[in-house]
Amino acid sequence: MTKAAPEPVERPTGTEEDVPGASVVVVGGGATGLSAAWWLARAGIDVLVVEAGIVGFGASGRNGGGCTHGYSPLFVEEQRLWPMMDDLLGYPTEFSPERIRIAFDEEQMARLRRTHEIGGRLGFRSEELDSTQLREVVPLAGEGSIGGFHHAFGGHANPHRTVQAYAWAIQDHGGRVLQHTQVHNFTMSGGRVVAVETSRGSIGCDQLVIAAGPYTGTLTALLGTEVPVAPARAEMIVTEPLPLMPLGGVDGNGLYGRQTLRGNLAYGGGPHEWFDLDDMEDQRPPSSPLSRSIAKRVAELFPKAAHARVIRSWAGFIENTPDGRPVIDRLTEPENVVVATMSSVGFGLSPASGHAIQELVTAGRCGFADLSSFALARFDGLDPDWRRRRGWVSTPATL
């Protein structure tokens, strides 16, 4: 499997707009593809990101900004990189370290305890707090919680700023980002992808990275490989700014989110909605009356912010694999393709996932983490009807 970067091949020319090819073309300008391209550009590789719309306008610009994924094999790298990202990128990400999580019942507490235990096993500290201690460190909290944890790890960042930081940093390192350009096919030659076919014509490449979020499976299918991903919608609300708490990374009560560095409370949670890829066509992700259920839980989490006014809501389309874990793998055929889709936790992990993808591209394997659990082979023999069997389908019109 280990393979050095392959020899360059002849690239097709004579395209409609003649976009010069690149050594590596990355399909998808979300956090995953952008980070990968940034790592590649930093390594001195000629890289081009092709994005159908605007960078980060998919889930990557619509998420909770959480960077605390203890159960992931990329966790240690995630934690190592985030505190350095502003400096490495040269643009602000608003990364803020640490998290506090608040539970209102035993079931919630059990979930929180798992982060504590997993972190502890890897040498990351957290402290259990009772309701009184929580109120001391979280000024907006009130009575009613049963306890929680203060993790001296994890954190949160601003997704909008982070995706654009990747895009600008790619350009600073000599890479290119092509927006408003859709990839609809690939050209093969000698068992390798030699060009991506786009709405702006053919663009040559030596290596290809597919990081197209919910569309990853559709694109790999063109290359004869199934990557099972199902799209779903999740939504969030945001309030007007409030005075900053000492630590903005507070969530719990079944919510994820943060107080932004500007002071807004941005939170999401609750049921998601499944649908088909075709349903997403030309659709801005709609938020729904679920805002009211989210608002209720935010008001419970922060009784002292109950007067804060909600000024917006939004939704995002998320990619999910059958076991809820990412795919970061090199295809066996064609051999010059790396596929990455993050199964709903791709923002926080993006500094690390991009690094892993870069190593897969340049060295054929990831040297800093064991990615065997992200291998595509685990889905060999997957029932083609897997979505229906899980009930991951659109609500039937008549039940």
Binding site: T181, T239, R262, F275, P289, S344, W386, T395
Partner: protein
């Protein structure tokens, strides 16, 4: 632990929205939003034809909302009388006799009731099983289910920055008219009006009628742009019209504006040296463009288009006033603003009749009135000239977005907000070009990075200015700048009011756990070498 996620008996993922439905408090056949002339006409017409009609209007708006420039730019120029809700309800009823008529006609009229969101079933939001509107009144927040909704939410004003425009006393034209006519509570003695289109001139006349002196009409263009009869009415009343002029600065004290400095501008918007002079006034009325209040429609996913004849960004409508979303109609100012319509109420009433006829499938019996005429002016050039002269050429750097302290330069150079106190490690200026690449300027992308439009007034005072700035910065027509998106709630709503009173049990039961995929949370040591859970008892 690694079982397949839970399924309902119907074979659906129980942790999804499947099997859950949004709560609905009340149902109506037809919901009309906005009790202006268009909305009242539609409600009365529909009730007369046997429909069950609910008519909601946010007026009287409470003092706190007004103070936060919601829903209009009131600029603090309301009298203390607006604190008295009963008196304000009386004033609103007196100001619009049609509301009482609607009530007589059997319409369920709800005043002091704001609609903050329209929700319709979409391919990616099928759990919204029927169309519904989110409303907020003194009692709280509810969803109203409807078969049809006619949106007649009127207009608001384009904001325009100049040094001092954050002072109390700088207000929108629609806000000034609303306070003067509907509330009888306008606290303005002497006003300067910016803009000379039909809406601005009608506002000047309304204010004069209500006892506010009009010191001057200031117009950046070389000649007044409104209908000539309105122009002569203004000059007959002794108000001077200053063309080729802008407000260079508003000065004032804690109570707000005390005077403005006006300056002559050249064709490029540059201020002519030595031309500044003072005009005493306590109020500056922003009237350069009346903006259709499309926020509910846009947030609900109705298709929008830039149509200069109809005043800019408006919903795509057919001859029955249907939007692109089934069951949702738009009438009145929200369907388009042009001088002949502003001066003749029968145009909006005809739209109301067409919408009702479309609902009842009798529209073929109506004459479809002609499309709006070509505008007398090029609004692209007109607005660009105003923004260049007032905002870009301003001596200071006024905040275009007052909520988030964003200047024109911040927008054009895509600078991070100041509270981050960001010092770039190397001198790498960012700009629109590096952001946009090969695409059109996108206000949402700029908003995400500069925060212009992200504040608590929900972008009402800055979004059109930002769009013009982007058009100027990128060298494209205004029509080429996509509309910044709107999101529910389109009125700010307190968390504890927005909150559902009770969480549905089926919601509570499966709320936790993100996508409800147990294997997602397994640590590497809980997985086998093949990447499958060690304790796997699922079957694929």
């Amino acid at each position: 632990m690694a079982r397949e996620p839970e399924m309902s008996p119907a074979g659906m993922d129980r942790t999804s929205v499947s099997g859950k439905t949004p709560t609905i408090a009340e149902m109506t056949d037809l919901l009309v939003i906005g009790a202006g002339p268009a909305g009242c006409a539609a409600a009365i017409d529909a009730a007369g034809r046997g429909l069950k009609v609910m008519l909601v209007d946010e007026n009287p708006v409470d003092f706190e909302a007004m103070n936060n420039e919601i829903p209009l730019h009131f600029g603090g120029r309301m009298t203390g009388a607006v604190r008295n809700r009963n008196a304000m309800t009386d004033a609103v009823l007196e100001g619009s006799p049609a509301i009482a008529e609607a009530f007589e006609a059997g319409v369920d009229v709800r005043l002091g009731t704001a609609c903050w969101g329209l929700f319709v079933k979409a391919p990616t939001a099928t759990w919204v099983d029927r169309p519904m509107a989110g409303i907020a009144d003194a009692e709280g927040v509810r969803h109203i289910g409807f078969e049809h909704a006619i949106i007649a939410a009127g207009s608001r004003d384009m904001g325009l920055a100049f040094p001092g425009w954050e002072l109390p006393g700088v207000m929108g034209a629609a806000a000034a008219r609303r306070l003067a006519t509907h509330y009888d509570a306008l606290a303005a003695r002497r006003a300067v009006i910016l803009g000379s289109g039909a809406e601005a001139l009608l506002t000047a006349l309304t204010l004069i009628e209500a006892g506010t002196a009009c010191a001057a009409v200031v117009e950046a263009a070389g000649a007044p742009i409104g209908p000539s009869d309105l122009i002569s009415q203004i000059t007959e009343r002794g108000t001077e019209i200053l063309t080729d002029h802008v407000v260079a600065q508003a000065e004032g004290d804690l109570d707000g504006v005390t005077r403005v400095m006006v300056a002559a501008v050249d064709r490029d918007g540059r201020h002519v040296a030595g031309s500044a002079r003072a005009i005493e006034c306590d109020t500056v009325v922003l009237g350069i463009a009346a903006i259709p209040a499309i926020e509910l429609l846009e947030a609900a996913g109705c298709r929008m288009t830039f149509d200069a004849r109809r005043g800019g960004q408006v919903p795509v409508l057919d001859s029955g006033q249907r939007t692109s979303r089934p069951g949702i109609y738009a009438i009145g100012d929200i369907a388009g603003i042009w001088p002949e319509k502003s001066t003749d109420p029968s145009v909006a009433v005809a739209e109301a009749q067409r919408a009702v006829a479309a609902i009842l499938a009798t529209e073929d019996r109506l004459d479809i009135s002609a499309a709006p005429p070509e505008p007398a002016i090029d609004i692209d050039a007109y607005l660009k000239h105003w923004v260049r002269a007032s905002v870009i050429e301003a001596a200071g750097e006024p905040h275009v977005c007052q909520c988030e302290d964003v200047t024109a330069r911040d927008v054009l150079e895509v600078r991070p907000p100041r509270y981050l106190d960001w010092q770039a490690p190397t001198q790498k200026p960012t700009d629109l070009v590096s952001l946009l690449g090969n695409g059109p300027p996108n206000p949402d992308q700029v908003k995400r990075l500069t925060r212009a439009g992200m504040g608590q007034c929900q972008g009402r005072r800055c979004r059109e200015q930002v769009a013009v700035l982007l058009a100027l910065g990128a060298g494209v027509p205004l029509a080429g700048v996509p509309l910044a998106t709107y999101r529910a709630p389109v009125r700010p709503i307190r968390l504890d009011q927005l909150a559902e009173t009770e969480e549905q049990p089926e919601m509570t039961e499966t709320w936790e756990g993100w996508f409800g995929i147990p294997s997602m949370w397994l640590a590497p040591w809980e997985l086998g070498p093949d990447g499958r859970p060690l304790a796997d008892d699922s079957d694929d």
